[in-house]
């Protein structure tokens, strides 16, 4: 049994910026905030808002650490997020069949 609402997933991932974030995190085990920002050409504030939404939905998790005395936030997909994203892609594929 799936432990998430199917309709909610669609809305949450469907935004372009969140779709981009999820796609980047699908490739990597984790990715830094600045890397995601550069890849999707977003501002700090805008990206933070979307990352928070995904974090609140438990699709991603964040780990904060210090590298060379600088604070670094690393994001990764959770199992729930991975499943939701895979379902989202499946749904898109079904639509174009």
């Amino acid at each position: 049994m799936k432990n998430y609402d199917y309709q909610a997933i669609d809305d949450l991932i469907h935004s372009r910026i969140r779709l981009a974030i999820m796609s980047i995190l699908l490739v990597g085990e984790d990715a830094e905030f600045n890397f995601i920002k550069k890849k999707i050409n977003a501002t700090d504030g805008n990206l933070s808002v979307h990352l928070r939404k995904l974090d609140e939905a438990k699709y991603i998790s964040v780990k904060k650490e210090f590298i060379d005395r600088k604070p670094v936030s690393k994001y990764s997909l959770t199992e729930l997020g991975r499943t939701a994203f895979e379902d989202y892609i499946k749904k898109l594929e079904e639509m174009i069949k």
Binding site: H14, R16, L19, A20, S23, I24, L26, V27, G28, E29, D30, A31, E32, N34, F35, K38, K39, I40, I67, I89, L92, E93, M95, I96
Partner: protein
């Protein structure tokens, strides 16, 4: 959602995934360092044997291989911190080369000592494994030239198994420079240009 939009979204996802994968390429320094280490080992062993200084071969290999492992361990720790993204493909390729390194160390320092493998065929077995490493790396990173390199290593293994001799040490030493160090330099240059592009 319309069909066109679904196609657009799928293309968008594919494009981002492909673009992100490009960022996760290896810097090639490991290929260069290990290629030089093994090349020095093979060539120096060749000259030590022809000058009949047999006792020096084991200490030289011990120093070289230990140095290589110390470098690899330090580099993997640094890489973990330095990388802005840690990909699964990098992890798989890293694990493949690390496990091949362990096997080669076991073959070189254990199998030959206990007599499970003759010294004469050691370089051939190493060539087989270097071929495996290149083939898997080629498949994962879609680098066709590496498949050619893998085949070259496997052919050299077949040849040196059929025609063993002291010359194999020298030939493999040169092959290391051509088919391990040179591809490493190529990977390094690509990595550098990728970093400049990202900046």
């Amino acid at each position: 959602m319309k069909k066109e939009q679904a196609i657009n979204d799928l293309n968008y996802i594919k494009q981002i995934i492909e673009d992100t994968k490009k960022t996760t390429v290896d810097n090639g320094i490991g290929f260069i360092i290990w290629g030089i280490i093994v090349s020095i080992g093979l060539v120096s062993t060749y000259f030590l044997i022809i000058t009949k200084n047999f006792t020096l071969t084991t200490p030289i290999w011990t120093i070289l291989i230990s140095g290589g492992w110390i470098y690899s361990i330090i580099e993997s720790i640094k890489k973990k911190k330095r990388n802005v993204i840690r990909s699964y493909t990098d992890k798989v390729v890293g694990s493949v080369w690390a496990s091949l390194g362990v096997v080669m160390t076991i073959l070189g320092f254990y199998a030959t000592i206990v007599g499970a493998l003759q010294y004469l065929y050691l370089a051939s077995f190493m060539a087989l494994q270097v071929g495996i490493g290149f083939f898997i790396t080629a498949t994962i990173f879609k680098q066709n030239y590496m498949i050619v390199i893998a085949i070259v290593w496997w052919i050299s293994a077949l040849f040196t198994m059929a025609f063993p001799g002291l010359y194999v040490l020298l030939a493999m030493g040169i092959m290391m420079l051509l088919f391990q160090v040179a591809p490493g330099i190529y990977i390094y240059l690509n990595y550098k240009s990728q970093i400049i592009e990202d900046k």
